[in-house]
């Protein structure tokens, strides 16, 4: 077999996905690390998800995203696999923000939380470009707080080594 195998319906390692026999031309599922398709104009409300800001946004004429009978055996929305409109939100680096607030530098951590909140708020309101810009800033602050944390730690270790060295000699 020449393909990478994940479309083999008998592959026990195949990632979980609802069977969709009605769509044999279904494109190969994206690998992690592959580039996601371009973001949509506005995020769609994901059932069971946290798309936010879309309360009551279901259009009256829109068929419910839940599946046709027999499809979506895992409860995932039928006909709306990941990567399609609704897509991948820009990363907000919230974990970096929390860690830098707790363990590193308060101002950087606070700024990181602000940008993380901006990412989600702008994405939820359909401002994809703004969300990506906020994501870029959040990443910058994450890198800076990690870098400063490492630099401070290294300097401190050097100071301690020097102090111990001079104290014992």
């Amino acid at each position: 077999m020449s393909d990478t195998g994940s479309n083999d319906p008998y592959d026990p390692n195949r990632p979980r996905q609802p069977e969709q026999p009605e769509q044999p031309e279904q494109p190969q599922e994206p690998r992690w690390g592959s580039n996601p398709p371009p973001p949509p104009e506005a995020p769609q409300s994901e059932p069971g998800g946290w798309s936010g800001g879309q309360l009551g946004g279901q259009q009256p004429g829109t068929p419910p995203p839940y599946g046709a009978p027999g499809a979506g055996q895992y409860g995932q929305p039928y006909g709306q696999p990941y990567g399609q409109p609704g897509g991948t939100p820009p990363p907000n680096y919230l974990v970096w923000a929390i860690l830098s607030t707790i363990f590193c530098c308060l101002p950087l951590g606070i700024a990181s939380i602000v940008f993380a909140a901006q990412v989600n708020g702008k994405y939820a309101s359909g401002d994809i470009a703004g969300a990506q810009e906020a994501s870029r800033k959040a990443k910058t602050f994450a890198v800076w707080s990690a870098g400063i944390g490492v630099v401070v730690a290294v300097i401190y270790i050097l100071v301690v080594i020097v102090a111990v060295g001079t104290g014992s000699s």
């Binding site: 195998g5 390692n13 992690w32 990941y82 897509g87 939100p89 707790i102 606070i110 939380i113 989600n120």
Partner: protein, 140 residues
């Protein structure tokens, strides 16, 4: 046949990042457990505290982690309430991340922005309160 091998390889590579992060985190926790932050000189002082003389929202975190690893949850809560409360959300975020990597899917859901703004307010209020007499129980 090769399909299975490729699929396993892909999953192994996909889990490398979460497992690496978990290893680093456990190593850091192990270090804090073994090297007591209650002893002066073991770790650098919080830069914010050193410069301003005021407690930051994270002050007491190393001692709180140390107390948690030694089973003293009450002491950990007294040293830094937010750090103790952050453990479970961080673990959940890690699990969801690892599960997405395992399944090879992208993230499609985001936390509502008001939740994050609330987090910001809570962190700032916590940092302010623990410097005031009324918030003394929140100070390490």
């Amino acid at each position: 046949m090769t399909a299975h091998v490729v699929s396993r390889t892909r999953r192994g590579a996909a889990l490398a990042a979460p497992l690496g992060v978990a290893t680093l985190a456990l190593a850091a926790v192990g270090l804090v457990a073994a090297v007591d932050p209650n002893e002066p000189g073991h770790y650098p002082t919080c830069p914010f505290l050193a410069v301003t003389g005021q407690l930051c929202p994270g002050c007491g975190s190393l001692r709180a982690v140390h107390a948690m690893t030694h089973g003293d949850l009450a002491a950990a809560l007294g040293l830094n309430l937010l750090t103790v409360l952050a453990v479970l959300p961080l673990a959940v975020i890690w699990l969801r991340w690892a599960r997405r990597r395992w399944a090879g899917i992208s993230r499609t859901d985001i936390a509502p922005a008001p939740v994050l703004w609330t987090l910001l307010v809570v962190v700032l209020a916590f940092g302010l309160l623990r410097n005031l007499p009324v918030g003394a129980p929140l100070a390490p």
